[in-house]
Symmetry: C2
Subunit: 428 residues, 2 copies
């Protein structure tokens, strides 16, 4: 279908059509320039090219069709929202748009200027009515991970039904576990009330399996990037990670496994992208919501591949699986807690676990250096960079901290810094 | 005693004497310029003038003497640290320096530049060894109220013993209460271990009484400011609030009650400071650690009085008392929780309680307008300003939001904004 044919659907969703057209055109051009100009891409990326071309079209139509069939759509924004419970209630979870400079002027009509671009961007998409995912949602689920998100959800509640889960920030106490588990149970009730479906043990087990399979497929793709040459660009791998928050889960898992098959074959054949004599960079830090491809594209434009992402769009999402130790509902919910509380977001204190994970990952992926991404005004990742840098230094892995927003003003400056950084790195 | 005579003590505390001298001279000059030039001050402020002149001298000597007698000093920074448990363990709690631009360059050798000046300032005082309170402390107690403090405590732990309490951010659930209560109990144990003193019911009851008396005295002073003309300048009242975090509790309570007596008499006699035909402003928002007198001094330099502070240095500290419902240790600890969880810091979500309190206070103090203070990069108060502004507007009270740090570059700009703001206000 063409955009013109989708226009009716977008209008029904309450989008600002004129503005939305501007966004779509910019997205298509940006994608073409960055992705389609890459050389020697895996054939399996064809599917993801198609998905992105239909990201506001076909996929939204699927969501709208589900809504017409009485199903619910949940919008979320953070790994701590247990999607297993969403799917167990026969609802669908989608990521919210939040990676574009485009929507920030709309956000700044309400919010302060000096908060994280991701938060401003997602809020701006709602205020400006330019995100069909947002406008498809029956409920947005937030969390108390960081100050900016936590307080913006309160403001967002004036625009759309919003539910907030508390995430405790010290994870080593019994009471912290009790609070988190109780929040997971409250969220289960919330999903049951919203959908009218009781979450039974079997449907939750099936949802756990569904999401675990998705994560295993993503982990397979990630594992292939340990090879030299890396079989896929960082930019393409990033896109796969980003799409995991939007696409239909079963289809995404199938296509990601097909891509993994191809990448494993590439590795066996010694086929890859880029020059294996160059250093390899690992990305660590704040997440990159779609279409934030800024740092990856800058880094790879210098001829150096990104081989891993220690990020919520990346390893933090797919590394651990939900693995119940028993068959009761309590066991299933505890397994969800067990998995989720192991995701080392910088919101935790202390967070030595993340520091260790970054160092371990850099070694596992043979990274010559780490580019540490701080979204502007993100206090947690910014301050945690001090400890990460110290630990990486001790392990002999140099780190470059880049604090940036979604603007293009600093692109050349960042490119120069990345070039200077990689020049001093020896290939691993 | 003279500064020269204290030099030995400061040296023993590990202070950087040269730097500390520069600080003391700047402090004395700033205080003289701002406070001693005020007209018609209450005689009771003489005590506070003396305390500030000895804030790094006599008071520190008292702390050092206590340390020599085997007692412990706890440094803290936030109303959520239950000082009742500190005093019940026969330790002393002091505020940490955190209101001066002076220490920020030292902080920025380690921390990012774009975080709250209060956090940078207190950290810089430790790194630069210029705060005798910090260097007197046996332990610093932090909390998880905001991202910047939470993550900086982790870094601070490399410099000084640091203990962190978790403060849950949703306060309306059973589990949140359970977590908070358990954190209060853990803190009790922590104090017992540090001091070697078991906290008995009687000592805790006595400590609750001690702190309640202090707060009642402060509330008395605050209540007198509802009169027109106000019997005390905002600057002087702010100083009393600030000193409550440093001074000996019993002496402070005595002297604050004496001041309250005088102010009540002033009100009875119709004596006050400033021109009763002018508008009256209320202050709301981020706290002002000593010697942050910036906004109050700018506002009052325009001839308009500040009549109340909805802030942690202000009403949030002294409004509610710990009022046990029973006599058991559990009742006492629950009463502490009950009081503390009622302090409406912007870290909570949702935080409608604070919004209501701001509006109520503005009415109680006959404020013509509210100046809302955001310390630069403080996300929680900054974003919460949206809801506060809306509620005040509805109540017919105009609000001026001022986002500022500790620098002097924006003083004239803020003065112009305050003047323009008060010009449009009618006196109440």
């Amino acid at each position: 279908m063409t955009n013109q044919q989708y226009a009716e659907m977008w209008k029904d969703l309450g989008l600002n059509l004129e503005k939305h057209d501007v966004l779509l055109n910019a997205l298509a051009k940006g994608y073409g320039d960055l992705f389609m100009t890459q050389k020697n891409r895996p054939a399996g990326m064809g599917y993801f090219d198609f998905v992105i071309s239909e990201v506001h079209g076909l996929r939204i139509k699927e969501l709208v069709d589900r809504k017409k069939a009485g199903k619910k759509i949940i919008g979320a924004f953070c790994l701590y929202v247990p999607e297993e419970l969403v799917y167990a209630a026969d609802a669908t979870m989608v990521g919210l748009c939040g990676g574009a400079d485009f929507s920030i002027p709309d956000a700044e009509t309400v919010l302060p200027r000096n908060i994280c671009p991701l938060v401003k961007s997602f809020f701006g998409f709602k205020v400006g009515a330019t995100c069909p995912y947002f406008n498809s949602c029956d409920m947005v689920v937030g969390e108390t991970t960081c100050d900016a998100k936590k307080k913006v959800y309160e403001v967002l509640a004036d625009y759309t039904p919003t539910y907030v889960m508390e995430i405790p920030h010290k994870v080593d106490t019994e009471q912290s576990k009790a609070l988190w588990l109780s929040e997971i149970k409250l969220f289960k009730q919330q999903m049951e009330t919203l959908t009218g479906n009781v979450i039974e043990k079997d449907s939750l087990k099936e949802a756990i399996r569904l999401i675990n399979e998705k994560k295993k497929a993503m982990k397979r793709v990630s594992d292939t990037r340990r090879a030299s040459p890396t079989p896929i660009s960082g930019l393409d791998a990033l896109l796969v990670n980003q799409m995991s928050f939007y696409d239909d889960v079963n289809r995404f898992t199938l296509k990601t496994n097909e891509l993994a098959d191809e990448l494993e074959k590439r590795n066996a054949d010694g086929v890859g992208v880029g020059d294996p004599s160059k250093p390899r960079l690992m990305f660590s830090g704040c997440p990159m919501a779609i279409p934030n491809w800024k740092l990856h594209s800058i880094i790879e434009s210098t001829g150096v591949p990104v081989v891993a992402e220690e990020s919520c769009i990346g390893s933090r999402y797919f590394t651990d699986l939900v693995e119940p130790k028993g068959d009761s509902m309590d066991s299933l919910l505890e397994a969800i807690w067990d998995r989720y509380h192991n995701i080392s977001c910088a919101c935790f204190t202390p967070n030595d676990d993340r520091v260790t994970k970054v160092v371990d990952m850099a070694k596992e992926y043979n990274a010559s250096g780490v580019v540490y991404n701080v979204l502007q005004y993100c206090h947690t990742y910014n301050i945690e960079a001090i400890k990460v840098d110290k630990a990486l230094k001790k392990a002999g892995v140099p780190m470059l901290k880049v604090e940036t927003d979604y603007g293009s003003e600093d692109v050349e400056q960042i490119r120069t810094r990345v070039e200077a950084f990689t020049e001093m790195l020896s290939p691993v």
